[in-house]
Symmetry: C2
Subunit: 135 residues, 2 copies
DNA sequence: TGCAACCCTGCCGCCAACGGCAAGGTCAAG
DNA sequence: CTTGACCTTGCCGTTGGCGGCAGGGTTGCA
C-alpha cells in the first residue's frame, strides 16, 4: 500500500457543492463555522477529498433534522464516519435533546400567539354577525 | 367652545410609556414605523395628548395578538377608537387572516423539524444517521 | 488571444421588534 | 452651581444560515 499512489479524489468547492446538494457559499460558511476544513491548491482554491462528501452530508442531515450549526459542532469527532453508526455520544444526545426542548418551546410560543390571533378574529367576526343580525 | 381653554392632557414620552406599559424606545420605534405621531415642544421633546394612550394600547393589543407592525398599519384609520371592539374593516380582517395563515405555516414547519429531530433521537438510541451511508 | 466558467476574500442584507449605548441638550430642585 | 432625571438622534446588536454582490485572480478551450 505504501508507495502505491492511491489516488484520492480531489475536488474543488463547486463539485463538492453539487455532490452534496448545497452551494459553494454554504460550504464556505460551514468552514468558517469550523465544521469542515480544506487544503489549498497553489492558486488558493479549496481542495477537498472524498471524505468531505460524507462529512458535508452528515452536516446537512443534522441541520435538516433541526440542529443548528453550533449544535453540529459537538458531532465533529464522528462526522467523518457514518454519523449513524458512530456511537452517539452522550454529549450529542444531550445537545439534541436540548435542541428538541428549544424547538418545543418555540412551537408553544408560536401556538399561543396563533391561538390569541384566532380568538381575536373569532370575537371580531362574532360581533360582526351579531351586529348584522341585530340591524 | 371656542376660546374655552379645553386643557388636553399633554404628556411626554416617558409618561406615555408608563401609561401604556411599554418603553420610550418602543414608542419611538412605533413612530418611526409610522404608527403614531407626536408634536414637539420647544425643546424638541415629543408631546402627546391622551388619545395617544388609546392608540398605543391598541397597537400593543394588535401586536400581542400576533400581528406585525406592518400589519398594524392597515388598522391606522381606526386605531384611535376601541380596536378590540372596532369596526374591523374587511382589509383588517383579511390581514389578520393572512397573518394567521403565516403563523400556522411557521408552526407547521417548526413542528415538522421537531418531529424529525424527535424521530432521529429515537433512532439514535442505536444509530444516528443513515443519510451518509451508501446502503 | 479572448472569453466563459471557475475560484478567492470580504461585507451587507434578511426577518422583527426593539434593547442598549454614546454623546449630547434641558429643566427643576436643592 | 450642580446634580440627576428627563429628553434627543443615531447606530450597532440580537437569531440563523446563508444569498448576493463587488472586485478581483485562474484556467481551460476555441
Amino acid at each position: 500500500m505504501i508507495g502505491v499512489a492511491r489516488e484520492v479524489e480531489r475536488v474543488r468547492i463547486g463539485e463538492l457543492a453539487k455532490a452534496t446538494g448545497t452551494t459553494a457559499r454554504a460550504l464556505r460558511h460551514y468552514e468558517q463555522a469550523g465544521l469542515i476544513s480544506s487544503e489549498r491548491a497553489a492558486n488558493d482554491y479549496r481542495v477537498y477529498d472524498e471524505r468531505a462528501v460524507v462529512r458535508v452530508r452528515n452536516i446537512r442531515y443534522l441541520l435538516a433534522v433541526g440542529l443548528t450549526l453550533d449544535d453540529v459542532r459537538v458531532f465533529l469527532p464522528c462526522l467523518d464516519g457514518d454519523v449513524a453508526a458512530a456511537p452517539p455520544s452522550d454529549k450529542g444526545l444531550r445537545v439534541a435533546s436540548e435542541r428538541l426542548a428549544v424547538l418545543n418551546e418555540r412551537i408553544a410560543a408560536r401556538t399561543e400567539a396563533r391561538d390569541r390571533l384566532e380568538a381575536a378574529l373569532r370575537d371580531t367576526t362574532g360581533r360582526l354577525s351579531r351586529a348584522a343580525t341585530v340591524s
